[in-house]
Symmetry: C2
Subunit: 429 residues, 2 copies
């Protein structure tokens, strides 16, 4: 037992949900309560992680890049990452969103969570506040909590789970009158984790205007944007904010390579923001300082170069699009599989990109208990809604589960209904 | 210009020195003031970075590991890293230091800076304080500053640059009486950056006892410990603290793979600390929470497995030892090269492992100006002493420069005296 004092903010920070779900998964089939369930493989729908491997082409390219200059790649890189990748991402933003984005706006980070952490740190310190729609992405809330920054909930509801600009305006006004902590930013995740909700471009524009008006930052986490398709199953434009000439005054955009490129272990994400936050003409902005402390440089310059290639190579662009289409089909299948379970009290509230947000039948039983029991009894691993909401305010969240439909193939997913059927009438506690 | 408010703690945090030195280096030979200097290559003695490549054997092993399961390696790993590497590091500590260390004590991090950041965060939050001997390692001070944690200087002096337990005791007592921020930890770097000072085992033991008595953590950054040789040029034991049965109550140890394995770009370091800080029996400690936010998992599981091999493989153990011996010879050469310059006012104050701490002849000229001018005029890139000391208290630091002697080969290092000779009698400002 340490003889020194621990940081109370970290003590008060929630436990990481994904390792916890991993621990629950380990109880199956040992604690399975139904013989039929014991025969089935584990159905892990908890972590938002690609169920497929990276493309053969990207793996080959990474090998090639690693072999090209293995010794050089072992050295330090720039604090904002490989120039090739910064350029490729800026070009991708121009092409996908329209508008203006340049290498100087891009900081490559060791994963999108680190991008979010430095975005939060750039604007908020202990005692400040950041608004998060609830249900929220747990690592956002945990990062804020670990820094002693208040996460102020902006509730959203079924069926749309869209946050309301009017509600934000009211919230900001109500806090101006009392001596509440200063709100420094609004952080949105679209497509959303956990609800899968996709925020319409007009809604994002409204939030951007409101943030600008209120002089707070809009932190937009678009980790899942490659899975955004239009009705013709072609890539959809997520929003037009980059077309505003002054987007850098308000917007900080978070990008991830973990899901769309299926390389979470390589730790690559990015923060796109005003060069003033990064490094302009020899001056070092807050993001440069934070990243110099936390990453020095993002890992694996060979991966960065390979990914810079993959962002533009037609064969890999179509690989990503195909994965997005497969996922869209799996989402449709998921809805179909769940529909007959409505009579048992199951209901898909919302779904998009990687996630579905689902109401379970055990009203009154906390979602953590339901999630733990689902894993142990029938080998279905999901995350409890409570992990995405403020402690205490569990009324709605207690009734819901986050299902990550990207992890598993169609065949395995088809075993879901029979497992849930096994729990018909079972009392969980 | 962002329309939102920036974090004042990060605004007050110093600029990253290494990118700044890179900018100075870029002014050579364009701004060289001596024709002879213009003919010479750049002599970069600024960043603490290996001047040699990783071993062929390690490069081959990394390629092999990357090829073995490239797809699997692309997935998420555990928050504390690959089990192979955690085990290998624990075994290495038992073998090198004696005493007890197990896999559960080890968290692999995306670089040693991140290990330091989470160690600081585990015990201190905004308004708390951590003691750093001065001159300090700038990223330690920057990390604390970015978190709003006070870095309390514990001054050290030539020729030993060893911190004094009596001075620390006095400092702690003086702060108890007033309402100063609570001191949560003492962070030491040995072999030291920037002075190269090597803290004797007995001194470290005294500090450990004092920290335990005062209920504060002892954070021991031993990034350069593989360069620690005894008189027979065999590996020296850095200290015996791991032999204390209760070391986990006080000690947090930081390890780096960047220097000893010459793979800084791969971002691998480690924090060794009480399992209570990591994750004990399903409970998540503060370090687990912080790392889940900042790294999720350390990058490149293939590198981790290759390094786990390299820690123990005899051919690679001897490669590391040879590099340490070469560096010891270069240190001797550096002393020899600098001796004739004493008549010009140059003096090597202290040197060990990677670094030498050197007094320059321009009294009254700030060390930043001297460093910038050395780069521009004669292509010698070093870091100013001021970067390692509190702002304002520059009397001593203004007179000193940190020289990283690991970066360059012997032949290039031999060009140092003639360059410094060129500046004889030159007035720098």
């Amino acid at each position: 037992m340490p003889a020194y004092t621990l940081n109370a903010d970290l003590a008060a920070t929630a436990a990481p949900p994904v390792p916890l779900a991993r621990a629950w998964a380990a109880t199956f089939p040992g604690k399975a309560t139904h013989a039929e369930a014991r025969e089935l493989p584990l159905l892990n729908l908890a972590q938002g992680v690609p169920g497929h491997l990276p493309s053969e082409a990207l793996l080959a390219r990474m090998q090639q890049e690693a072999g090209r200059e293995p010794a050089a790649a072992a050295g330090y890189g720039g604090v904002f990452g490989a120039p090739e990748l910064r350029k490729a991402l800026a070009a991708d933003v121009r092409q996908r969103y329209g508008g203006d984005c340049a290498e100087d706006d891009v900081a490559i980070t060791a994963g999108a969570n680190l991008a979010a952490a430095v975005a939060f740190q750039a604007v908020a310190r202990r005692g400040d506040a950041v608004v998060l729609p609830t249900p929220w992405y747990f690592n956002h809330e945990m990062t804020l909590s670990s820094l002693g920054v208040h996460a102020v909930p902006l509730p959203t509801e079924a069926p749309s789970y869209l946050p309301s600009p009017a509600a934000l305006r009211k919230l900001l006004a109500s806090r101006r009158s009392d001596s509440a902590p200063a709100i420094r930013a609004l952080a949105l995740v679209t497509p959303n984790n956990p609800t899968g909700a996709i925020y319409p471009p007009e809604l994002l524009r409204e939030f951007a205007s409101l943030c600008r008006e209120e002089s707070i930052a809009l932190i937009l986490d678009e980790t899942y944007r490659d899975f955004l398709l239009d009705d013709a199953k072609e890539p959809a434009r997520p929003h037009g904010l980059f077309e505003d000439a002054d987007w850098r005054d308000t917007l900080m955009h978070i990008h991830s390579y973990s899901k769309a490129y299926a390389i979470p272990g390589h730790r690559l994400g990015a923060l796109i923001a005003s060069p003033e936050l990064l490094a302009a003409e020899g001056e070092f902005g807050p993001v440069a300082k934070a990243l110099d402390n936390l990453q020095i440089c993002p890992p694996r310059t060979d991966t960065q170069r390979a990914v810079a290639w993959a962002m533009q190579a037609p064969e890999h662009v179509s690989w990503r699009l195909n994965k997005a289409r497969e996922l869209a089909e799996r989402r449709t299948l998921f809805y179909e599989l769940m529909r007959p379970l409505e009579e048992l009290g199951w209901r898909v509230e919302s779904a998009g990109a990687y996630y579905a947000y689902v109401a379970h039948p055990w009203s009154g039983t906390p979602s953590e208990v339901v999630a733990e029991q689902l894993a142990a009894r029938v080998g279905v691993v999901v995350l409890p809604g409570a992990f995405f909401s403020p402690r205490g305010s569990t009324e709605d969240a207690a009734q819901r589960l986050r299902v990550s439909i990207a992890n598993v193939d169609e065949e395995l997913l088809r075993t879901l209904p029979q497992r849930l059927q096994l729990l018909k009438g079972v009392h969980l506690q």
